[in-house]
Symmetry: D2
Subunit: 304 residues, 4 copies
């Protein structure tokens, strides 16, 4: 398949969707991002790279990082992670707190904020230098040694992190956050501040398409079964309260972030990332969602 | 692949799981089913049939029928069905009513009870002889002209249907049930009472594996896109509050029922059904779930 | 105290509040009531009657009837009523269904709809001719033998009663509604359709001010303790989700209805009713609430 | 009325209730309190004091302090407090967080934890030396200059305060907590650690019975209207999720704490306090509740 041609087509069609919606504005560093940007990149298991648009521009990966930290925890802790977090979709945001109460402090899955905070807490236990380890992992995955946290974003998130602090303290009351909440939040907000280009992002998720092995280095990160299962988890829970819609329309495992990025995986084939900062009402990038739908339609490569 | 060999292996391993859990006992007709039964069947797109156990014994398909009625509605009404029902997973049962209130009478998806009731209401509008049409559709899909409703089960469900009546009246207060509630429930409880064997059931879902066309008759029921999307919906919402777990462990689109059946689809390849009456705490068959996990592990055929 | 003078003052001051809000419009028979009406009446334990405005105009007492049916149940069934219904305020309406689920079908109190439906169910068990008995009781309390149901209102409520039907079926699923739901709703909607003037209404609640004895006939309806306790229940739960506000600003036990009436009780002294059809956002009459606040302020007779 | 005689009778009858239930054990300092203690005290507006049992033993007043801090805020800020907190009962604890979300960070009333935290935040704004001011107020009310915080209890609460921290951060995300959360919690946990005897406690609430004026010093703390309204608030919301039950059975404005104290007010007459550490499942003292019910029954002094 000529992926560059597909990307070119999408790029020429996507303009009406770029800038549609609202850039995340809960922190200044995100609010000032230019809404009229768009990038898309495909990286295949055998190493080919295709891209269009602002694919050399780094952006804040935000919640997409949840799939990376989950992988770090799952790789090292195995199925014991499920003692701390569930695998089920979570329903609407409105219910997040009541569900947490009903389920005794166990978040529904690792990709909602509560779940990612628990994973952060777990990583503080599992790794001696958590922030070093995560950055190293991101660099290895992306084959880009310049990948780093954006300190301004991390700090700014911290200052506006009342909701996440509430979640962390709430779970701490159930014993499901064990470290000091400030430490947990510090790690969590740093992970969210990681910056990548669309190409970096696509390459970083290739290990999932490749059943657990990083193609670049040949290192196995997850077992084949774990990689498939992580993909399943992304398919059912990766796009907030629009996960069902995304599975329905796009049909591939994916993870989104409020920085405007969405990265998806076609098992045994490729990873694909799209980025555009303006978000729909569910917090997913309007144009990136649309671009990915067109990608699976044009290539016919959904998992179904 | 030698599917008969795979089924034989599973059959020899599954005994410890058969009878584990609790047979649905909310109506007498279900309560008296022998818990120690197990059947499994595979039907491939090219018409081969494999089976083990009690695969000639008909059982109540219950909620599995929701995928059939949804298909009837989707086929005839297209994307207008989404004006009446959502596509998102629903979180735990505890939240079902509050979510319905929060979302103004629009159920989260067509596979929870509230959603299936709305689909029933829609079918009463779309088809002149709803019960005739559904039975005819089930017979066509299964290539079995003896498929029928179990009148005793339907009546008994009606008598114990207070919760579903509550849901229907509640949605009627939002205008999302338009017919007389008794009519809606009568259709709904009849659909749940359909009886099939494991072989019937697997064959009935082949049209989804076959991208919308019934292999047996060559009739297109859904477009390719609609078939893929229906599969995506089953993957994210088909097993009640264990949908994430099933996607994670088994990794294929599937639908379960409290009669103990679960049917799954491997796109472009086959449909597989397992049945055993004893249910786990989520209302899914313990042994059928286990059998399907072993099936995708042994064959390596998950969608991921 | 010169109650007539107090009523006259209030009458002259209340104009800006009359018609403010929205007349209940969920059924035609209520929607067409003239919003610009206002009545107020005081009846003392020793039989004096004072009134202003449209005090000879009958109106639909609606939820105020819940205090009458509760009294009938409490009088005959005593503390066993608490096996079926609670005594606690209920929080906002949004939570009504989830609370009912959390508390296993036991409504928080007899003055929310769910609670009144349970009381209706109980009255169907306790009285041979429930509708006769309630009408007789209303006539005895009001000393007015023309008090009757409004058949048109009852029928119309029945046709728009989806929410209440949902509640009744939901509680029936927990075994807390035991009769046929249609019978329960028929009784319930008839009780809501009772019509009284402001004078009838004030007189009807005198037995609570008089510690359980109907002053007119000398018949004891409730024990002194039961009468006090019923008053306490009205104070904490009688005005929907504005009960706290009413207790705070007016400070007397009271019950409101969406017909625009509010009736209050000053223990050992009097009962006072106000009526004006336009409702605030909580479903309480704007002008009647205001009039009662002025009444307790001017007379200094709150219970605190 | 011979109150000493009434107290003596209650004291002789209350033994079966003392020690029934469970002493608050979430912090060590409370857990080690001897469950077999009981005290009761009455102080009349004209200064007479009656008591039985361990009425010279100080105990942790805990949530009873919420009525004192609310008074300080209401006295200084007037009706503007209602911009920050509601006046309605709150339903069961299970719903507290969802209600807070539904109502945009505005707690239902000042006597639930969320509401008291908002009042704490307000007091940090209104008073230059909040802890000094509160202690001074408690000493003035009780006419006891030895009243003080228990530093060990305050510290211990702080260490186990995850739930309250969660509530505070959650409300801070809505802008309804404006100070640093640690400051707010520090004030809040200190207020809870105030220690009083039953006699101190009864005397401290006399100003409410006396329509806003401290009988001892003649200083007006609240206007008459404010005092009545604060009493109404206590009646509808003062005993957690047992407020309705208490109003029903005891019939007076009161406030309870998990230290085992309950203090009630008979307008224009007296204040009465009971204390016994063992709590029922709602967090109210079993024996103190029972003692107060007997007190209003024997004296016939409910507000109804």
């Amino acid at each position: 398949m000529d992926y560059q041609q597909v990307l070119n087509e999408i790029y020429s069609e996507i303009t009406p969707f770029v800038g549609k919606g609202k850039v995340a504005d809960y922190i200044p560093a995100l609010a000032r991002v230019d809404a009229n940007q768009f990038a898309m990149a495909v990286v295949t298991i055998d190493g080919k790279v295709f891209s269009v648009g602002d694919s050399a521009t780094p952006f804040s990966i935000q919640s997409i990082s949840k799939a990376l930290t989950f992988t770090m925890a799952f790789a090292k802790h195995g199925d014991r992670v499920w003692e701390r977090v569930g695998k089920e979709p979570s329903g609407n945001a409105f219910n997040s707190l009541i569900q947490l109460e009903y389920e005794q402090g166990i978040p529904r899955n690792p990709f909602i904020n509560a779940g990612a905070l628990v994973i952060s807490d777990l990583i503080l236990s599992l790794y001696d230098n958590p922030l070093e380890s995560l950055r190293g992992f991101a660099r290895e995955l992306s084959a880009n040694s310049t990948i780093d946290y954006n300190a301004e974003v991390a700090l700014s998130e911290m200052e506006h992190g009342n909701r996440n602090a509430a979640l962390a303290y709430f779970m701490r009351s159930f014993g499901n956050v064990t470290h000091n909440v400030d430490q947990v939040l510090n790690f969590y907000f740093h992970q969210c501040s990681l910056e990548m280009t669309a190409i970096d992002l696509a390459r970083s998720f290739l290990f999932l398409a490749n059943h657990g092995v990083i193609p670049n280095t040949g290192r196995r990160v997850l077992t084949q079964s774990q990689a498939k299962r992580t993909s399943a988890l992304m398919l059912t829970t990766g796009l907030y309260n629009e996960s069902g819609e995304f599975a329905f329309r796009v049909g591939i495992p994916a993870k989104s972030g409020v920085g405007g990025g969405i990265v998806g995986v076609i098992p045994q084939l490729l990873a694909v990332a799209a980025w555009s900062p303006a978000l729909n009402k569910y917090g997913n990038s309007t144009a990136a969602f649309e671009a990915l739908e067109r990608f699976t339609t044009k290539t016919g490569v959904s998992v179904f």
